[in-house]
Symmetry: C3
Subunit: 259 residues, 3 copies
């Protein structure tokens, strides 16, 4: 039904792995490397040349490396000079600019916009319509919900660019803005529609405009159960590597023993 090889362009300089499917109307430019068993759906552009291409006759497209088992949904645009670990997936219409580095098992939702020059660890899940400014640095197992924006210019417009950082396991809820240079620790929860600047210690619940640390997430008791959902890895395992043995055992084997 899909993958009819209609109007597909693959550069002879691209390196396509085994058992890769390329959707109709998709374009893959020079020096794109796609891992085995990946799916690139319809109407995508992979390895979009950088701006220099338009001005430099000797332009050579930098490598774009997509790990094995990727699922790139339709209308996604990925610039050259980025790296994606295995099991990378996108929703539709995702835009990823150059110099973006993603670990394994990352997922980006529909319309999400990665401005480039960013770094993500493993297992980060971004929902629809997230905007990640340049120089953002995100840890592992960080989930970011719709319409969150990470900014980087403290006095717009200027040439200063200081991205936000987010520690492992932290959650940034819908509609929140992180101001430039914000540092969110590990296992934090930032509430919906907050406007957050400054630095926050691990396990902070941060809420409001302006955002403030309200309490320790471990003290957020569920009204019915009397138990805190956080740290969430003890209570959520769908798609997580600890799904079989539980977070308690998994974390010790995987270098997260202090979490």
């Amino acid at each position: 039904m899909k993958f009819n090889n209609r109007n597909v362009y693959i550069s002879p300089k691209a390196r396509i792995g085994q058992n890769v499917k390329i959707g109709d109307n998709t374009t893959i430019y020079d020096n794109v490397i796609i891992g085995d068993n990946s799916i690139i759906a319809n109407d995508c552009i992979i390895g979009e040349p950088l701006h220099d291409y338009y001005h430099n006759e000797n332009y050579d497209n930098p490598e774009t490396i997509i790990g094995e088992n990727a699922m790139i949904r339709s209308h996604t645009i990925i610039y050259a000079n980025s790296t994606f670990g295995k099991n990378f997936s996108t929703g539709h219409r995702v835009t990823i600019r150059e110099h973006s580095k993603f670990g394994d098992n990352c997922r980006l939702g529909t319309v999400t916009d990665i401005q480039g020059y960013v770094e993500f660890g493993n297992n980060c899940w971004l929902h629809s319509n997230v905007h990640i400014g340049q120089k953002s640095k995100i840890g592992n197992f960080v989930f970011i919900y719709p319409y969150v924006v990470l900014t980087n210019d403290p006095t717009p417009p200027s040439d200063i660019c200081i991205g936000a950082t987010i520690g492992d396991f932290s959650q940034i809820a819908v509609g929140t803005v992180l101001l430039p240079a914000t540092k969110i620790g590990k296992h934090c929860l930032v509430g919906a529609q907050s406007l957050v600047g400054g630095e926050y210690e691990d396990y902070s619940l941060i809420i409001g405009n302006p955002g403030k640390r309200i309490k320790d997430v471990r003290d957020m008791k569920n009204r019915e159960t009397g138990i805190s959902h956080y740290p969430w890895p003890y209570n959520f395992d769908r798609g997580m590597p600890w799904i079989e043995e539980g977070f308690e055992k998994w974390k010790v084997k995987n270098g997260f023993e202090n979490d």
Copy 2:
């Protein structure tokens, strides 16, 4: 000018009505049913297969039913297994996931993102860039303005999914977030950039972060006229079925006599 039949793919298993126009570069997959006099513009994907397609050799695409007189604008993606009443229209780049059910005369604005497993009544108008989370349930004549988000996970991340519900004739203004399980009654007005949780009775004006019921919308007097614009159906009829006879008469004939 348009509809040159360039690079169009229509599955032989699709059923296309009379006098339907299909735009260039558009793909229509198996078991899509399109009603008479509809327009599907350029670069659309209709009947996108569900995730199971990639894993199941015997996958059979579920039906996608688009009523008569539809206008689907360019770059829209609609997954299989959804139903749309007559006169359905979308702006550009709309994404609609599976198990979405829309009544008659619904309109979705540019970049709007319907996450699937949702239900809309008749005559709902969503403006640009609205995000509707799974399990949302929306009545009739509901208008939702740009950058509104309906959420569903009370303790992210979790496997709990409780959508918001919105009653007939309610209006959700720009940039507002409805928290999981929020229940908005009929004829309510939720002000711009509010963060709203909980349950609200009919005719509520709800504003703020956190959102609160401020007053009855019928008590919002216009400074110049001294009259309330709400309930709005008495004061707005562009594109509405009561445009000829007025809301007062129309509502009695159409089962809205208590409105």
Copy 3:
């Protein structure tokens, strides 16, 4: 690498300047005029017919005029009946409806949505995912950051449409909503995630929900330097016409002597 002339449609009634490059899968409709040395990248639609096209057999597509040296990035849709000065650029997936007028050197970021019937001066830079409602009027050197929305209906839904106006050199930070009929003076700074209505004098710092004038931007001293970054043209010149001689000299020669 790009510009392979694959699946390109250019109306014989379009007028394409010298040294223009048109990307693969792009469609250019009747009466589009593109200035010399422009680049229209892949998968774009330029000169999209207005709604009347579908109902009027004698429809004649109005002119769409794009000045010289434009850079229209991929997946952008521009309706007929708009005018763009020289050096116009867009990110990806920009949507521009009819009756939009842009001066020289304007830039629109990825996913930005211009609803039409708007007017921009010269050198306006809109970042990603900005939404500009109809009847907005924006001066020169105005910068608008991601997820900002300019609205126009004071009592939704209604047929009243009063756009916001923004004076020269003003900055609207991320996630802010301007309510209908808002008037922002020159050299103002509107802080992130504000909800702003009313009228504001020149040099206002406006912050909050509801937004209020907090102080004069010239009194915002930098903690380290003790100097205000604002008015910013004295401190930022990347891509600005005063980059060589400085704002002080430039403004006098160019009619901005009172700034």
